[in-house]
Amino acid sequence: MSPAIVNIAYLVAASLFIFGLKGLTHPRTAVRGNMLGALGMLLAIVVTLLDKSIVGYGVIFAGIVIGGGIGAVLAVRIQMTAMPQLVAIYNGFGGAASVLVAGAALFEIMVAGDASPIPLDAQFSIATFASGLIGAVTFSGSLVAFGKLQGLTNEGSVRYPGDQIVKIALAIVLVIFGVLMVQYAGSSAPYWLMVLVALVIGVLVVIPIGGADMPVVVALLNSFSGLAAAATGFILYNTVLIVAGTLVGASGLILTMIMCKAMNRSLLNVIFGTFTVVDDGPSADEVYAGKVKSTSPEEVAMLLSGAKRVVVVPGYGMAVAQAQHAVRELFDILEEHDITMEFGVHPVAGRMPGHMNVLLAEADIPYDRLKDMDEINPSFKQIDCTIVIGANDVVNPVARTDPDSPIAGMPILDVDYSKTVVVIKRSLSPGFAGIPNPLFAADNTLMLFGDGKKMVEEMVKCVKEELG
């Protein structure tokens, strides 16, 4: 097939990706958008298979069958609660593939020498460097993120003395290997050594980021997986790789910025900084002593039975407790008795962008009942009862009131404005920010201590008795 036809087909594929991504940003067109993206991919693959440089199909088809099988099984069998891990590991696979393709291209050109269609110039070396670097950081960073989300490693922030210095030192080593790659363009050793260093950097960058900051990391790695592919496009002079990779890079970056904005922190602060520990802030004892009122599922059920409007604020704790199906039962019984139940979802609730929405959709909650922070906040004053399940920092009123607090200025859900707040939580332990939450000691707050799922199930039972 002539290069012109191949490139036109790539242009069509790239256009399909653009329409596909555009579709994915609107609920009504999302399914079609995803299909258009898949169609673009199919077209790009078929055209590539007809490329004249391909002499053997055995290896390709074996790879596609194995990869396709694994991908399909994962996609069908994965629990929705495991979605953050799945997205993380997919990002990693994309990064690893970029590292390998760039490495293979380097070998090919070394072997072909002057007969190579791609010149062994500085552009090639720099593109190979970028592809290997971004790909390797994405791969190892995603593996660490996967380990954290799957609960294989410490989920919190892991820090050690001098961590920033170690990172800077490694970055310098990285640059040295980059220079060597340009200098000794015909050798592949600097490339693989550079990849090794980049793998270590990926691990070190993600290890200190934990808990509530995970959505930022997952979104950023998503962006990187695209940029790695785009860099490989610069090596191979392949337009569809550049366009598709860059589109994904942009989309991931937009999500990253949305997440950062929702925490009122800059990207640099999330990656390199940490919450500044304030010693002069009020201690847990000062905030809670004698003021925390604990309640029972029966009492909450009575409250709910007399309510007109109820809001549930879910957090990562709901996902951990797998309470979403119990919440759905509560939703059903309340709606049956004309008590409106809505959900107030904070943008960074959970461990990836949109985590709560996916969980609640899986539990069959109609998505028009899921309200954004900006949408639900003005109505809290009219809410009779707000139930917070496993959320902490995103409902901490200190963000509004105390300019010295580590979460000062972070947009929060104003649950404390509702008539009664019920917080379901195992204990009074602090959230990711490590500060006490005055909401738990507020006059209109009742604490329901226990496992999220068990407590909601008991509430459902009691509400059924109450309402008959």
Partner: protein, 93 residues
């Protein structure tokens, strides 16, 4: 224009298009957008296929084979899981 300028132009324009097209996305679609765009980043499969199929040396073929497997997991898994998620959202219409 020489080669690099052309591909660099494509890169910059694609970045602008990406930011324009995706600028506003509702929270409900954050996860599907991520998994769907991740499937698109599986476009690296194209590079892997060319490399695996040209069979220069056994080493490049092995590297490219692994890349084909990983990229295909990304493509097939990504589009399928996105479709599954979106079906959950749609059911309630």
């Amino acid at each position: 224009m020489e080669g690099f300028t052309i591909v660099f132009t494509i890169f910059v324009l694609a970045a602008f298009i990406g930011f324009e097209v995706i600028a506003k996305v509702p929270p409900t679609l954050h996860t599907p957008l991520m998994s769907g765009s991740n499937a698109i980043s599986g476009i690296i499969l194209i590079g892997a296929i060319i490399s695996a199929g040209s069979q220069h040396t056994w080493l490049t073929t092995v590297l490219a084979f692994i890349a084909v497997v990983l990229a295909t997991i990304n493509v097939v898994g990504g589009f399928m899981v996105t479709n599954r998620m979106l079906a959950m959202f749609k059911r309630k219409d």
